[in-house]
């Protein structure tokens, strides 16, 4: 049956901000959905609070709502737009939960609309663990023994029946949030307690432990004709016990016989039918006992998932795109396979290569957090690599992580083999390295298998890599056969150079002299059975290359690699925009990236896609292959964040043209001395600073410019290793840490501007003139990393003359640095004085936000400038407005989203959620309205959940903040909020006519035994909003207890005075019912 003609408009629900467990894979899937629907002539209404997504670009939908994904806002949108159908299976768990919310509130019926893709019953059957278990039993499958519990007492009882360890899984959460393995009653109390809170239905499942079993996942699709195909099988190298998102995985499954695989396939088909996913995709996870082949069905997700994105990239089968087509009525055999053109989508992709995915973690940002990998996902990103063998794909994937110590190396490890064997029993992000080092230094495969339960097949492959490493370092001569063998096993020139104690450059020259270069194969869904028309390539050291010659000049765009804190979807957004606009301008666009979650690695985005690590070696080889294929104009390195910027100089040295801002200009902005000279010449001021190579020098600098000072290593992104220190002692401890991070770079010490307003600016410069795209004012004061700070566009407190001053300063800096394209500058205004904090001559994290708030596509303009366009020409093309300064449409507030609920300390308690100069947010949301309060309220609702309109507020203010907070406290009081306050705050408020109830701090003794403690009132649910500004120095135990209690109750917790003021403005807006929805198209028109 072709398209359902009754569907003329569809509401697509996005997944909101990037959080751990739900990242930009849902921008990839949602963008595909929007494209498909629009191509079918269907009116697309989109809701997503995340401005950094491609899907929220106004051209991807007819009406784009950057609004919070809550029942209330969805109802307003539905009432206004009256969509015929709602597609909620492509926006992750957020969208699915939102759909269930609409259903439970009776809104689907009320507005005569329906869910397509999966209905509520199917979602319920797939996600409710009890129902799902009965389905598994009905189709003849087996589940792990388990008991459903609704209270902690149920949990204790169940654990006694199942025997410890038990696995705790809450219902209806994503990314395994709130789940874990309890080895004893204390563990259980912590894990199940949190699980019960995180589950919207207060339900957890306790399960017999199948730790150490092999883990597999199948991606399944079904159409309305009941045709079912298996798109991909994925095997976890990390056995059961580590969340799939945190596991190193491989596709296809490599250790199954056909009989075993067909069993999984049959079970999957029966499950998707019985659950009743009418059309679309789902994934089903299995565990297999390696000793007897017993299969246990673990769970299913009745929606497109993170694994679907991985499977799509791994196979070339675009699951989200096809799921959308199926949802509007097509059947699989009516859909063509894009890659082969001749064959239909009703087939099962077959791979003639190996795909390895490795997670990227950010524990260095959360030093308190428990580093053990469990069933709660903790990784923030992932890299994928493709090779013609497992060792090749694995080694490529590891170097794609761009993290020191990720790639295999063979220097003597700091721990001995016995210690390594012991350490690897506990899965952490370091386990694979421990395995490799133990095998390299004498552990047997059997010993490592017994410690980790990793299949001996994988261990043997790692052993082969180690063996070859030994040969490489021992061989008298690095001859062609040996070097070829090394490259085929995925060794980088860099690894070989270390093994041979020569330079990487020498290895490269030798390799080129021996004519050893990679070829590029094609991901074609069919193992070459049919011709492929989509140039989606990966490298391998083989005989035959499949890169086709071309005549159009090519622009190579370097992506941003795996998501990490500080470098995420915003940079992918800019790369994708560059690709779109340069393609329009008549260039052949070539994307290089290794992040499977992104839109940039969709083979539909660029003319050619190279799924390759972003290292100098890998990029140079691509450039070589493409230079042979046809003219190459150059490489764009300024849009993908620090990753491509870090490559720019090396590329230039190798004779590659860098389009746009030159590497020399980039270095100029990074070099404090040089940059200071530019500022001097322009008559601009920076906070006093100094540079130090030793602790003694650092103390001297700090004494000169006076504490508090901001210290950081040079060349960083996302505030990595940045800290505000108040005395010599903390300065010393920082330097010890920092010099570990970057041994070759000095430490920078800046005067820290207390009470300054921080301003972020994005601008375009073509060499002659400047377009000041956006001036954002941070809501938190300086000292909070800009990535973690809420900000507002247009700025609320700058005067016209200050704006003019900023414009001039920006132009001077852009000219002085030599920018061609984008520049981001951070300023601070303290006591009416403008300070330049830093300048980054590249696309910034705020580019998508500014683009959406002002309706000007900055990244597209930047890409055009890179290939020679001027601002004047861009104005003629209507890519830029006839303005010198961007104009915001409405007031847009950006708020950061922080992953506190993901991390616990090893003692099970939460990690501290106080903000600082080190960036820790994973994503962002935007709220747009015609007044600040409403915009702020929307941003808070989208990021943390609703602000209360009445009820109780807990206030605990540090001494220095009390006066500044008074007016806001008074407003709350006037609105009728009951106020709880700690003793100091209570006394201060009383003296100023605000009544409050005194509560005890945890650290106070119990002499006021009548008072409840702050933590008690929070955990007992008496409070709806928490304002807690930290004390600055000294013990922060109370603040920490309060904030972690807030996170566990999922309560909004504000830690700054400007945040407090904005929240009160937001509450006023809520009470005045000013939160109307309005589409981006309407704002921008």
């Amino acid at each position: 049956m072709p398209k359902d003609p009754s569907i003329k408009s569809v509401l697509v629900i996005g997944s909101g901000p990037i959080v751990i467990g739900q990242a930009c894979e849902f921008d990839y899937s949602g963008t595909q959905a929007c494209r498909v629907l629009r191509a079918e002539g269907i009116r697309v209404i989109l809701v997503n609070s995340n401005p950094a997504t491609i899907m929220t670009d106004p051209e991807f939908a007819d009406a784009t709502y950057i609004e919070p994904i809550t029942t209330q806002f969805l109802e307003e949108i539905i009432a206004k737009e009256r969509p015929d159908a709602i597609l909620a299976t492509l926006g992750g768990q957020t969208a699915l939960n939102a759909a269930i919310g609409l259903h439970s509130a009776g809104l689907l019926e009320k507005y005569g609309t329906k869910l397509i893709g999966a209905d509520v019953d199917a979602i319920e059957r797939g996600e409710n663990r009890e129902i799902f278990r009965s389905i598994v039993a009905k189709i003849g499958g087996e589940s792990a023994q388990s008991v459903v519990c609704h209270t902690i007492t149920d949990c204790y009882k169940a654990a006694t029946e199942l025997n410890y360890p038990v696995v705790v899984r809450p219902s209806f959460t994503m990314g395994g949030l709130g789940s874990g393995i309890a080895f004893n009653r204390e563990d259980l109390e912590l894990i199940a307690g949190a699980g019960l809170r995180h589950s919207p239905t207060s339900e957890v499942l306790l399960e017999e432990s199948i730790l150490g079993w092999k883990e597999f996942e199948l991606e399944v699709m079904r159409d309305h004709n009941d045709n079912v195909v298996i798109v991909c099988s994925i095997e976890n190298i990390d056995p059961m016990g580590v969340h799939t998102g945190d596991s190193i995985t491989v596709a296809p499954a490599l250790t199954l016989t056909d009989v075993e695989f067909q069993n999984l396939r049959n079970l999957s088909i029966k499950i998707i039918r019985e659950v009743g996913v009418a059309t679309g995709g789902c994934n089903i996870q299995f565990a297999i006992n390696p000793l007897d082949g017993r299969i246990v069905v673990i769970e299913m997700n009745p929606r497109v998932s993170r694994s679907s994105a991985l499977a799509s990239k791994a196979t070339g089968f675009p699951i989200a795109k096809i799921a959308t087509k199926l949802a509007i009525g097509y059947s699989l055999d009516e859909i063509r396979n894009d890659i082969t053109k001749m064959t239909p989508a009703s087939f099962e992709p077959t791979l003639d290569y190996i795909v390895v995915k490795v997670p990227r973690f950010a524990f260095e940002k959360f030093p308190e957090a428990d580093p053990r990998l469990t069933t709660t996902m903790k990784s923030v990103g992932e890299a994928m690599a493709i090779g013609r063998s497992f060792p090749e794909a694995l080694q490529k994937a590891l170097r794609s992580l761009e993290k020191k110590g990720s790639s295999f190396s063979w220097e003597t490890p700091s721990q001995n083999v016995a210690t390594l064997l012991d350490l690897m029993r506990t899965p952490t992000e370091f386990r694979l390295r421990q395995v490799q080092q133990a095998l390299a230094f004498g552990a047997s495969i059997a010993e490592v298998h017994s410690a980790t339960k990793i299949d001996i097949w994988f261990l043997t492959q790692i052993d082969l890599i180690n063996e070859l490493a030994k040969n490489i370092s021992a061989a008298a001569d690095l001859d062609r056969p040996l070097l070829l063998q090394a490259k085929r096993m995925g060794f980088s020139d860099q690894q070989i150079s270390t093994l041979r104690a020569i330079s990487e450059d020498e290895v490269r020259r030798l390799r080129h002299r021996l004519e050893l270069r990679p070829v590029y194969k094609t991901v074609d869904t069919c193992a070459a059975e049919f011709e492929a028309f989509t140039p989606y390539h990966y490298s391998s050291y083989e005989e035959e290359s499949e890169v086709k010659p071309r005549t159009k000049p090519a622009v190579i765009i370097l992506g941003s690699g795996p998501n990490r804190i500080g470098q995420g979807i915003e940079f992918d957004y800019s790369c994708v925009h560059a690709s779109f606009t340069l393609s329009e301008a008549g260039y052949e666009t070539i994307m290089v990236n290794c992040n499977p979650e992104t839109v940039s690695t969709d083979y539909d985005t660029s003319d050619r896609l190279y799924f390759e690590p972003l290292t100098l070696e890998d990029v140079l080889e691509i450039i070589n292959a493409e230079t042979i294929a046809g003219p190459v104009l150059g490489v764009i390195a300024q849009l993908g964040g620090q990753t491509p910027l870090g490559l720019a100089q090396g590329l230039l040295d190798a004779g590659v043209t860098i389009l746009g801002t030159s590497p020399a200009a980039i270095n100029l902005a990074e070099d404090r001395g040089e940059f200071g000279r530019i500022l001097n010449e322009a008559g601009l001021r920076a906070p006093e600073y100094g540079m130090a190579f030793s602790f003694e020098e650092a103390v001297a600098v700090a004494t000169r410019i006076k504490y508090p000072v901001l210290v950081r290593p040079s060349f960083v992104l996302g505030g990595r290793g940045m800290e505000i220190v108040y005395d010599d002692e903390s300065l010393k401890s920082f330097i010890v840490k920092a010099t570990e991070i970057t041994p070759n770079h000095p430490v920078l010490i800046d005067r820290f501007l207390d009470d300054a307003i921080e301003i972020d600016v994005d601008a375009l410069f073509d060499g002659e003139s400047l377009y000041l795209a956006g001036v954002m004012e941070h809501i938190e004061e300086a000292g909070i990393h800009s990535g973690d700070s809420a900000c507002v566009l247009p700025s609320m407190s700058l005067t016209p003359s200050q704006l003019l001053e900023i414009r001039d300063a920006t132009e001077k800096i852009a000219r002085g640095v030599g920018v061609r394209g984008l520049i981001n500058i951070q300023y601070a205004v303290a006591a009416n004085q403008l300070y330049v904090l830093e300048a980054n001559p590249r696309a910034s994290r705020t580019v998508p936000y500014v683009s959406k708030a002002t309706g000007v596509q900055l990244a597209k303009a930047a890409a055009r400038i890179c290939v020679g366009a001027t601002l004047a020409q861009l104005r003629e093309l209507e890519m830029l407005p006839n303005l010198e300064v961007g104009k915001a449409h409405g007031i847009s507030v950006k708020e950061a989203v922080l992953p506190w609920n993901r991390f616990r300390r090893t003692d099970g308690k939460g990690v501290d959620s106080v903000l600082g100069p080190e960036m820790r947010s994973t994503g962002e949301v935007m709220g747009i309205a015609d007044n600040f309060g409403a915009a702020y309220a929307k941003s808070q609702i989208a990021s943390f959940g609703p602000l209360p309109q009445n009820g109780s507020v807990f206030l605990s203010l540090s001494e220095k903040d009390k006066t500044a907070a008074l007016s806001s406290a008074q407003e709350l009081f006037a609105m009728g909020f009951k106020i709880y306050a700690t003793s100091g705050t209570h006394t201060f408020l009383a003296a100023n006519g605000v009544a409050s109830t005194s509560v005890r701090k945890h650290s106070e003794d119990e002499r006021n035994a009548n008072d409840e403690s702050a933590v008690e009132i929070i955990t007992s649910g008496k409070v709806d909003l928490i304002i807690n500004t930290p004390l600055g120095r000294g013990t922060r135990q109370d603040g920490w207890l309060i904030r972690t209690a807030a996170i566990q109750r999922s309560l909004p917790c504000i830690t700054t005075i400007p945040g407090f003021k904005a929240a009160v403005a937001g509450i006023q807006s809520l009470r005045n019912d000013q939160l109307a929805v309005r589409s981006l198209q309407s704002w921008l028109s």
Binding site: T257, D258, R265, M342, T343, S389, W457, A528, E544
Partner: protein, 371 residues
């Protein structure tokens, strides 16, 4: 680098010697299945073929006794990118390379199997030789390949058919409902196993079986198995099938069996450019409109009209299944006589079980023929 794979058209791939050494010849075919190398190796349909595995790692799960499709390895040569140095599976009883050496199958590893597959895809299945640890010049190797027999016109059934009849009975607990005469042209173990599971007592008979033998057995139905070779050479069996059609004994054919039924009905068979070999092939069941993902292993196909019913000397018939990839005839059915066949493998092994219902259809056909 001590082995060479040499194609009929002169292209040579250098690789590593693997499995048995020496030389071997056959038709170069590729299979795209990612699982099931053991089933492939022991499938008699691969007799005289040098099989190229497109999946890059082969041998990971070793070899076991249970998954064998026949008593021996049939391929004449085996080409893999990365053979596994270990067998990792709880059922494994031996490893792939030692089984290949025992069966004297010459192999080659480490070559660009994707380039080789693309070559065959573009130029068609052709003769190939593997020379492992041999002292021959490139020219000598090409000449030897060109001297080897081609697959077109090859009569191979005698090599693979059973010498003596044997019986596979329904498993304990399953009542015997039918007696089936299975003509073994290279039958796979999974086929009688699937039939037996449905209450069929399967008499596997040699290729030399006559109509008199069939009449003496008095079966409820006759099964025509898969097997190697060119269907155009199968004059004897084709005549036998016509005799069976005359007698209105229900017939079910798989793969080679379909080609023989097709020829018995008067259709031509032809050689495909590079064949269908894989376990991911979409087939449209024209009766239900549904898609089956199926296992394929065929280099020839039946030429029959796919859009209209056809007429034969045995009455009207129709094409029931077609390949969605290239429109090849994948299933036939007579309307006036109890006979049907498919070009693919409902018994799977290796491959998906979507088409398993065809064995039920065979049972139904025999049941209704009785009534």
């Amino acid at each position: 680098m001590s082995a060479f794979l040499v194609l009929d058209d002169g292209r040579i791939f250098e690789g590593d010697s693997w499995a048995a050494t020496g030389e071997t010849f056959g038709e170069a075919v590729f299979t795209t299945g990612m699982t099931g190398y053991q089933e492939t190796l022991t499938d008699p349909s691969y007799h005289k073929q040098v099989v190229i595995m497109t999946a890059p790692h082969i041998g990971n799960t070793g070899m076991n006794k249970i998954d064998e499709e026949s008593k021996q390895i049939w391929v004449s040569g085996f080409v893999v990118r990365n053979p596994s140095p270990v067998s990792s599976n709880w059922r494994a009883t031996s490893d792939l390379e030692s089984d290949l050496i025992k069966a004297s199958v010459v192999g080659i590893s480490g070559i660009d199997t994707r380039a080789l597959t693309r070559h065959i895809r573009d130029r068609g299945a052709m003769r190939v030789g593997i020379f492992s640890k041999m002292e021959l010049t490139r020219e000598e190797m090409v000449i030897r390949v060109r001297q080897a027999p081609a697959m077109s016109g090859a009569f191979l059934s005698e090599d693979v058919s059973t010498a003596k009849p044997y019986v596979i009975s329904p498993p304990a607990g399953t009542a015997k409902e039918f007696k089936v005469a299975a003509i073994d042209l290279g039958i796979k173990a999974a086929t009688p196993r699937n039939m037996a599971a449905r209450g069929m007592e399967v008499h596997v008979l040699p290729i030399t079986t006559t109509i008199a033998d069939i009449e003496a057995l008095n079966p409820d139905g006759v099964f025509l198995s898969n097997g190697p070779g060119d269907p155009a050479t199968m004059h004897g069996v084709i005549e036998l099938v016509r005799e069976i059609l005359e007698r209105k004994i229900p017939i079910f054919g798989i793969c080679f069996g379909q080609q023989i039924l097709g020829r018995a009905l008067g259709f031509e068979t032809y050689k495909l450019q590079f064949g269908h070999r894989g376990i991911n092939q979409p087939v449209l069941n024209k009766t239900t409109g549904r898609v089956e993902i199926t296992a394929h292993n065929h280099g020839f196909a039946v030429e029959a009209p796919t859009d209209v019913r056809f007429t034969t000397v045995y009455g009207a018939g129709e094409v029931t299944h077609i390949s969605l990839n290239d429109g090849v005839v994948e299933g036939l059915r007579l309307i006036d006589r109890p006979a049907f066949s498919v070009q693919y493998h409902p018994e799977a092994a290796a491959g998906p079980h979507d088409a398993n219902y065809l064995f039920d259809d065979f049972a139904d056909l025999m049941r209704s023929a009785r009534a």
